[in-house]
């Protein structure tokens, strides 16, 4: 809402007189709602569910969620068991425990989720690799823990909606847009008035912005945000691939290779279906998404296998062909890749050999190194290729003050992060958990839930925590974007040394798990705290000083990847 309209309205109200009792005259008759949540994405729905799970909150507060799109489409979302949506998130154990605690997790269709038991991450240039396995971090006496669970966003949203069907006191208004938000012109009040597209006006004690990156609530609250767009697009797609054989580990391993253009991540969804998130330069993303899906499938296979110099060459071929208007055919790209393979003398019995994999029948005894790579991708599910720009963005504060009082931001409205560590959704859920606790405490002590005093613990708990994760992810992206050989050498040595130190790795992951208040069983990712400050300093110093302080960059890569191991991915 623009300042102009607000001040004009203020003027018109002032003319009428300053007395109270004009509430009904000066505006349309409005409905009071204690908590108005704008946005029906995962964060908004999770907050509504959490509030609905607490009898104490339900007794005391009226809660309304407003969403512009048709939520029944999500509620009734149903697809064949072997076809998957392309928007996938890793739900960390912390997030899953929260969802279970409020009673919403049982509504998630677990058959469509996949536990991640191992994570392999390697350097696109040096091939330095680090492996994190959930069993390494398992505290004694617990069985096969998982690091995170890959879940389609729609599966989660549908679960939350189904859960909300059981809490009728929470009002869901869908297919209704927020036309404008204005501050009530009443002395002693000044609560936000939310004007909806169906003509209704909600008067909110607390207005929650769960309305995404372009948050109207954030602009009403007058909260600035800080950030930039990365020169990167993320391609997402759902992949069909061969099942793992009995000689291989099950498809519960997530793979991520850091190419200088950006990381490519393979995220298992079932035995034969996985999801991809490939961050790359915008022109390459444009050319790849415009190509034949078979070309993209080959490029994905290649992106995990071929040396970086060949990937660069293939990119240039794709770009040239795209610019010339004659995109490469699946046959041409296959010829290119097998030629590159021969020139690198890749052993045709190795898992790295695409041409061999493409020809041999599935099954049989797999090559020795097959567990170092994702399975061979055979095709891409129709209509699942998409791409979106990546950005870093963090609101200056989460609580609106002054004229924007009684507002609070959660999820993407508060922060947007590079998806390489898959923390976006989990940060949003952690926000929701913290805000939920704040609201519960406020209700218990009779505090006005819209007051700054009631909300302050939320901002204190989440702001710095989110900031640490965001800068870690950002630094990781930057560290791996460079091809300068001293930096590559340093980060690789750091990673390889760390990978050999199993006990230390286990200790890192265990401490991450036990740092949570309640459970010892999970592997969380809050370990981020320890390495981060050193990390940011180290990378900058390493870049500035060059060769003399290589060890620092190595240490930086180590501490980043330690955290990374404990993060899920999306």
């Amino acid at each position: 809402m623009s300042l102009l309209t607000r001040s004009r309205l203020a003027a018109s109200v002032c003319k009428r007189s300053g007395s109270t009792g004009l509430r009904a005259l000066s505006t349309v008759v409005h409905e009071d709602s204690d908590v108005v949540i704008v946005g029906g994405g995962p964060a908004g729905l999770a907050l509504a569910s959490a509030l609905g799970s607490s009898p104490v909150v339900q007794d005391s507060l009226k809660i309304t969620l407003v969403e512009a799109s048709d939520l029944s489409k999500v509620r009734d979302w149903s697809v064949a068991s072997d076809s998957f949506s392309n928007r996938v998130s890793s739900i960390t154990n912390t997030s899953r425990q929260f969802l279970a605690a409020i009673g919403a997790w049982p509504y998630v269709d677990e058959r469509r989720t996949m536990p991640i038991e191992e994570m392999q991450v390697w350097d696109g240039i040096s091939d330095a690799r680090i492996t994190f396995s959930a069993t390494e971090a398992a505290p004694a006496g617990t069985t096969a823990p998982e690091m995170a669970r890959l879940t389609e966003n729609l599966n989660l949203q549908r679960a939350l909606l189904r859960y909300l069907d059981t809490t009728p006191s929470i009002k869901l208004l869908d297919k209704v847009k927020v036309n404008s938000i204005e501050k009530e012109q009443e002395e002693g009040g000044g609560w936000p008035l939310v004007h909806l597209s169906d003509g209704r006006v909600l008067r909110a004690r607390l207005l929650v912005g769960a309305d995404g990156f372009n948050s109207p609530v954030r602009s009403y609250a007058g909260i600035q945000s800080y950030g930039w767009a990365y020169d990167t697009q993320a391609i997402v797609a759902t992949l069909n691939h061969r099942p793992r054989t009995h000689f291989e580990p099950p498809n519960t391993v997530a793979y991520q290779r850091f190419l200088p253009t950006g990381p490519i991540a393979f995220l298992p969804l079932s035995e034969t279906v996985s999801s991809i998130v490939w961050s790359t330069k915008p022109p390459i993303a444009k050319a790849l998404t415009a190509s034949d899906p078979a070309v993209l499938a080959t490029m994905i296979n290649a992106a995990f296998r071929l040396p970086e110099v060949s990937i660069r060459y293939l990119h240039s071929q794709i770009l040239e062909a795209h610019a010339a208007g004659t995109p490469l055919t699946p046959q041409q790209i296959l010829e290119e890749t097998s030629w590159r393979e021969r020139s690198h003398s890749i052993n045709q019995y190795s898992a790295y050999s695409l041409s061999a994999l493409g020809k041999t029948a599935p099954g049989g005894i797999p090559p020795e190194d097959s567990d170092a790579l994702p399975p061979f991708i055979t095709s891409i599910q129709p209509d699942t290729i998409a791409s979106f720009p990546l950005r870093f963005n963090h609101a200056d504060t989460y609580i609106g003050g002054g004229d924007g009082a009684r507002t609070i931001l959660v999820g993407d409205a508060a922060h947007t992060v590079h998806p390489l560590a898959g923390q976006g959704l989990n940060m949003g859920l952690a926000d929701v958990e913290s805000l939920f606790r704040c609201i519960q405490n406020a209700v218990a002590n009779g505090t006005d839930v819209g007051s700054h005093t009631a909300l302050m613990p939320y901002a204190r708990e989440r702001y710095f925590e989110n900031h640490k994760i965001m800068s870690a992810v950002d630094k990781l992206h930057k560290l791996y974007s460079t091809t300068a050989s001293p930096v590559v050498w340093a980060r690789s040595v750091g990673v390889e040394v760390l990978n050999e130190l199993d006990t230390i790795k286990a200790a890192i992951m265990m401490s991450a798990g036990s740092s949570r208040r309640s459970s010892t069983q999970e592997v969380g990712w809050s370990v981020a705290a320890s390495g981060i400050e050193t990390l940011a300093r180290n990378i900058n110093t390493a870049k500035a000083l060059g060769g003399g302080v290589l060890g620092l960059a190595g240490a930086g890569a180590q501490s980043l990847l330690k955290q990374f191991a404990n993060m899920g991915r999306s």
Binding site: V56, S60, W191, N441, N445, S451, P457
Partner: protein, 311 residues
């Protein structure tokens, strides 16, 4: 406004002038009353937990500790309500609340603020005592003093009487305490919060808060008016509610505190609890019961609960 209209008042005109000046700032959570806003949830927590504890004591059942309406249906008086911070919270917990203040501008600000909140059901004053219990919580503000209220409505009007951060501002604390206490029904509860007269309290509330950090206006507090916890406990050891019809201290009945054990009252008669500001969390906290520093924790801000014996 003229404070002289109050009979035999404990109200100090200079103090009232000071708080009237502040009245516009009561609800600025980042302003002069920031610390008070942050302290309020902890005061309410103390009241709620104490009430639930006594409910369990009386009924011998397990009352739910997180019950949201701990004060449901109770008649509550807040003496010196200021901007209504405590009154609003007590009303949300189900109380039928009356807030009184000697400053007319405070009462105006409090009423204006509560009127904007549909959850509070503000009833315009003057307060009319009813015998029929109301079913929903409500809130009334009135510009009057505790003495006036006692003279008008007689003793034993309220289940709960609170007076937070007032004792250190009144002229005759003994009369003030006696007035507040007489307004409590038999078996009812009196909650007070004030500041102890210790060098620590001087350093924190006057030297630091007023003169160094300028969190509050210099002159807000007077060291000599601070009251120590043992002085309060001593007062209630000697205090008996006068028999009906007789005004003044020391009438018939049992003293509110029968005796002290090692300086502490019996758990069912009274309790003092320190309340400290924890800078790194930005919040106040109750000093845990029986913790090693509990005595020390009462060295500055503290809360007192004391219960009127059943006759």
């Amino acid at each position: 406004m003229s404070t002289s209209s109050f009979r035999s008042s404990t109200v100090n005109p200079d103090e009232i002038a000071l708080f009237s000046k502040l009245s516009s700032q009561w609800w600025d959570e980042q302003g002069e009353c920031k610390m008070l806003h942050r302290m309020n949830p902890v005061r309410v927590q103390f009241i709620r937990e104490k009430m639930l504890e006594m409910q369990r004591e009386d009924t011998d059942t397990d009352a739910q500790l997180d019950h949201p309406k701990a004060l449901a249906g109770l008649k509550i008086l807040d003496v010196g309500c200021g901007g209504g911070l405590l009154c609003e919270s007590l009303t949300r917990l189900g109380g039928l609340t009356l807030g009184i203040d000697a400053s007319a501008s405070n009462v105006a600000i409090a009423s204006l603020h509560a009127a904007a909140d549909p959850g509070l059901r503000l009833i315009p004053g003057p307060f009319v005592p009813t015998t029929t219990p109301a079913r929903t919580s409500n809130l009334t503000y009135e510009h009057t003093s505790a003495e006036e209220l006692l003279a008008r409505g007689g003793p034993a009007q309220f289940d709960v009487v609170c007076s937070m951060e007032v004792l250190e501002h009144v002229d005759n604390p003994r009369t003030f305490l006696s007035t507040c206490a007489q307004l409590v029904k038999p078996g009812g509860h009196l909650f007070l919060s004030t500041i102890s007269r210790t060098p620590l309290a001087y350093a924190l509330t006057i030297l630091a808060a007023e003169h160094v950090l300028r969190l509050v206006t210099p002159g807000t507090h007077t060291y000599a008016k601070y009251v120590r916890p043992d002085e309060l406990l001593g007062f209630f050891q000697g205090f008996c509610c006068p028999s009906p019809g007789v005004l003044g201290d020391g009438g018939a009945g049992r003293p509110w505190i029968s005796r002290l054990y090692n300086g502490a009252p019996a758990r069912t008669e009274a309790e003092t609890r320190g309340i400290v500001y924890v800078p790194w969390t930005g919040a106040w906290a109750l000093v845990p019961r029986g913790s090693p520093g509990a005595r020390w924790g009462e060295g500055c801000n503290y809360l007192l609960w004391v219960r009127r014996p059943l006759e």
